[in-house]
């Protein structure tokens, strides 16, 4: 099962190496790992998508928490969270197909961020499945390039839940 782990870490050199080194040394499988700053300049947040059974995930959480610059570890399994991935994708867009392509982009709520003679670059964000579905839709046109951020996530406030599409990290 895929788990989204969120770790608040001290914003110090070497922390990323420590965390990724631990994952490699203990043969844990990382799907994606995202690091970014937070509102506190002393702290960064790492969002790590890990695949494994409960026993493995328990070790992942404990081994992460054991790393000294890691301040807090959360596993979002079983919680309502908003999980998002951002992608830039460039694919072939011949003139005659542009109308259908633009309609497709519209359906997926993507943004055209660059357009050339033969290709088009689209920015799209959302849950992982949406991104993957979009990639599948683009494939027939001929994908030139894909860059993805990997997942970031945040738990929903119980009270304000709703409105947006619900994503738990079980799906």
């Amino acid at each position: 099962m895929k788990h989204i782990i969120s770790a608040l870490v001290e914003n110090k050199p070497g922390v990323l190496a420590h965390v990724s080194g631990m994952f490699a040394a203990r043969a844990f499988n990382i799907d994606s790992l995202v690091v970014g700053r937070t509102e506190d300049p002393q702290l960064s947040r790492m969002t790590i998508v890990v695949v494994g059974d409960d026993r493995v995930l328990e070790q992942v959480r404990k081994q992460l928490a054991k790393i000294i610059p890691v301040v807090k570890v959360q596993d979002f399994a079983g919680q309502a969270v908003v999980a998002r991935d951002l992608m830039l994708i460039t694919f072939a867009a011949p003139a005659e197909k542009r109308p259908e392509i633009l309609a497709l982009i519209e359906t997926f709520k993507g943004n055209v961020v660059d357009i050339g003679q033969k290709t088009i670059m689209v920015e799209i964000s959302g849950p992982e499945e949406k991104i993957e579905a979009f990639i599948e839709m683009c494939r027939p046109y001929g994908i030139k390039n894909v860059a993805r951020t990997g997942t970031i996530a945040m738990p929903r406030q119980e009270k304000t839940a709703g409105g947006q599409q619900e994503t738990t990290n079980e799906d």
């Binding site: 870490v9 001290e10 110090k12 050199p13 070497g14 190496a17 420590h18 080194g21 040394a25 002393q42 026993r55 328990e58 070790q59 404990k62 081994q63 928490a65 054991k66 790393i67 000294i68 610059p69 890691v70 301040v71 807090k72």
Partner: protein, 585 residues
């Protein structure tokens, strides 16, 4: 010029404060580092100099610190380790950048695996050169990250005092371990004021010392109910200084006690509750008891594969209580029915208050039967020198009181089987990493920590060969350590596996040895060679009276094997060699 050699008393009586000005006076990084070490209570250090640590070494010139120079940084790291294991204090080692730091790696890994508190200070090239492949540059924090509990590089002298304080705190608390502080040479000469009261900043380091009270009462209840309990104790009890509490628990609740290799010494093996060591080369009675118990009380032990054998069948019918300070140790290999996270000393004290005496007549009778049927033994009638015999003699002639260190291999296992340890911190051995060459330098470190103790390194010929250059260190500092080489000519443990599992094809497991007593003498130590069984006690007695380091080279039975043995991947009760033990009972 002052000589470095044997100045054992040079720090005695002096104030442990370097000439220091008011708080605001500017001091160099090197000065601050040395002062911060002194303020941490450091009076002994191990280390080897080099270009980029010269400012630091210059400050050591007149510092009230006893300084031991090994012949190789690995030796120095093992010395700091032995010092820490024998004393319970933090061992301190300093090395230069690049090759110096790289040479520490084996020592750090050894300490890491066995949770030993060490602070290593490494020199580093100038901060503006870092990353440029400068002369003697190595990515020390990168290289040592997996073998340390924590490491960091100090790039601003203003952080130095705080980092050193944090290093000692991290190394010595929770589950202890080695910490590396990498110190670029320009930071050693940069100046700032020194604040001994600087606050640590460790938002991610939380310590849990008190176990959860409900978990503790559940554990006590399980103990009180159990008909067939076994206490399974590891190095954590030694580290937590919880020997007294362990004894109180075993006596009050009436529990048999088995120990891991690193746990040996935590319970007096002369006591009736002791089942001695368990695991691959554990006693038959310990392994049977663990296999059949209905309650396994693990304290400061981590269910290592050398202990458990096949995990699926390990204590399969037992409820498991797991007491450990490291939450990550719990449920890593074996499910824990009652996990208790915290300090063993605290938790055992609480347990003692809550347990009741129970006779468990049948259980103890069964254990007594196993003990009678399969006692530890060997061919005592042999006219050759059996290594087990030598170790029994060392035990007897030292009154079972010596601090013992070992290398890695058969001799290490025989030592764990045939020396009867009485107290914690008496047995110093590389359990987790299994580092050959650990015996001699760790004995030196232990002797420095415990000048009045008898310290004996029971070593393998090839383990000894790996770091024997440190014999000269022992000579220089006039340390009366003893080395007993179980010289079988072979890498015995490798040969045993080749005999048993590779059809006796002794591939590359034999080395031509030098004459070790002559080597010892050339290095300024006393050397004795023993080739006849009858000479064994006499040689040991002579060794024990020597004031200088003494090496006794025992030419032991070359193809002796360690029994019993749970072959890799087998269940604990599937021991080989039992018929042999039975026949010698």
């Amino acid at each position: 010029m002052k000589s470095d050699s044997s100045r054992p008393a040079d720090s005695a009586g002096k104030s442990p404060i370097l000439k220091s000005g008011p708080l605001t006076a500017l001091r160099t990084g090197a000065d601050i580092a040395v002062q911060a070490l002194i303020d941490q209570g450091v009076d002994t250090m191990f280390g080897y100099p080099g270009g980029v640590v010269l400012p630091f070494f210059d400050k050591l010139y007149d510092a009230p610190i006893r300084f031991i120079i090994p012949r190789h940084e690995q030796g120095g790291a093992h010395m700091a380790d032995g010092y820490a294991r024998a004393s319970g204090k933090v061992g301190v080692i300093v090395a230069t950048s690049g090759p110096g730091a790289c040479n520490l790696v084996t020592g750090l890994g050894t300490a890491m695996m066995d949770s030993i508190p060490i602070v290593a200070i490494t020199g580093q090239v100038r901060t503006d050169l870092i990353g440029n492949d400068a002369f003697q540059e190595a990515d020390t924090t990168g290289i040592t990250r997996p073998v340390t509990k924590y490491n960091c590089i100090v790039k601003d002298v203003k952080d130095l005092a705080r980092v050193i304080k944090e290093a000692f705190f991290i190394a010595s608390t929770g589950r202890p371990g080695p910490v590396v502080v990498d110190l670029p040479v320009d930071v050693q000469v940069a100046k700032t004021s020194y604040d001994p009261k600087v606050e640590m900043r460790l938002p991610g380091y939380r310590l849990k010392t008190k176990g959860h009270s409900r978990q503790i009462s559940m554990a006590a209840e399980a103990i009180n109910k159990s008909e067939k309990p076994v206490l399974y104790v590891g190095g954590g009890v030694v580290i937590a200084n919880a020997g007294e509490e362990l004894r109180a628990l075993a006596k009050k609740a009436h529990l048999p006690v088995t120990m891991t290799l690193l746990g040996l010494g935590s319970y007096d093996q002369n006591e009736p509750e002791s089942l001695d060591m368990l695991g691959m080369h554990g006693t038959a009675y310990a392994n049977y008891a663990v296999h059949e118990c209905d309650l396994l009380i693990a304290v400061g032990a981590r269910f290592d594969d050398r202990v458990t054998g096949k995990l699926k069948t390990f204590a399969a019918n037992a409820k498991v209580i797991h007491i450990d300070i490291d939450p990550a140790s719990i449920a890593k290999n074996v499910r824990a029915d009652i996990p208790v996270v915290g300090d063993a000393k605290y938790i055992l004290t609480e347990l003692v208050n809550q347990v009741e005496y129970r006779e468990r007549k049948e259980w103890f009778a069964k254990i007594a039967q196993w003990k009678k049927k399969y006692p530890m033994g060997y061919d005592r009638k042999s006219t050759n020198i059996k290594p087990q015999y030598v170790i029994e003699q060392v035990c007897e002639l030292t009154g079972g009181d010596a601090i013992i260190t070992t290398g890695v291999g058969q001799h290490q296992m025989w030592t764990s089987q045939f020396y009867k340890f009485k107290r914690p911190r008496q047995f110093i051995t590389s359990g987790g990493l299994g580092t050959m060459g650990f015996g001699l330098p760790s004995a030196i470190g232990a002797q420095i920590a415990m000048p009045d103790a008898t310290v004996v390194d029971i070593d393998g010929d090839h383990s000894f060969n790996m770091t024997l250059t440190e014999l000269r260190t022992a000579v220089q500092y006039e340390l009366p350590i003893k080395v007993c080489i179980m010289n079988n000519g072979y890498m015995g443990m490798v040969r045993q596996w080749q005999e048993l599992f590779y059809n006796k094809r002794y591939s590359k497991s034999y080395l031509a040895n030098p004459d070790y007593s002559k080597v010892a003498e050339a290095l300024g130590a006393v050397g004795i060679t023993v080739e006849k069984k009858a000479d064994v006690p006499k040689a040991i007695k002579k060794m024990l009276t020597e004031k200088m380091p003494c090496v006794v080279d025992f030419h032991v039975e070359p193809e002796e094997n360690v029994w019993p043995m749970v072959p890799s991947g087998k269940s604990l009760h599937e021991m080989d060699g039992l018929d042999l033990l039975e026949s010698m009972a």
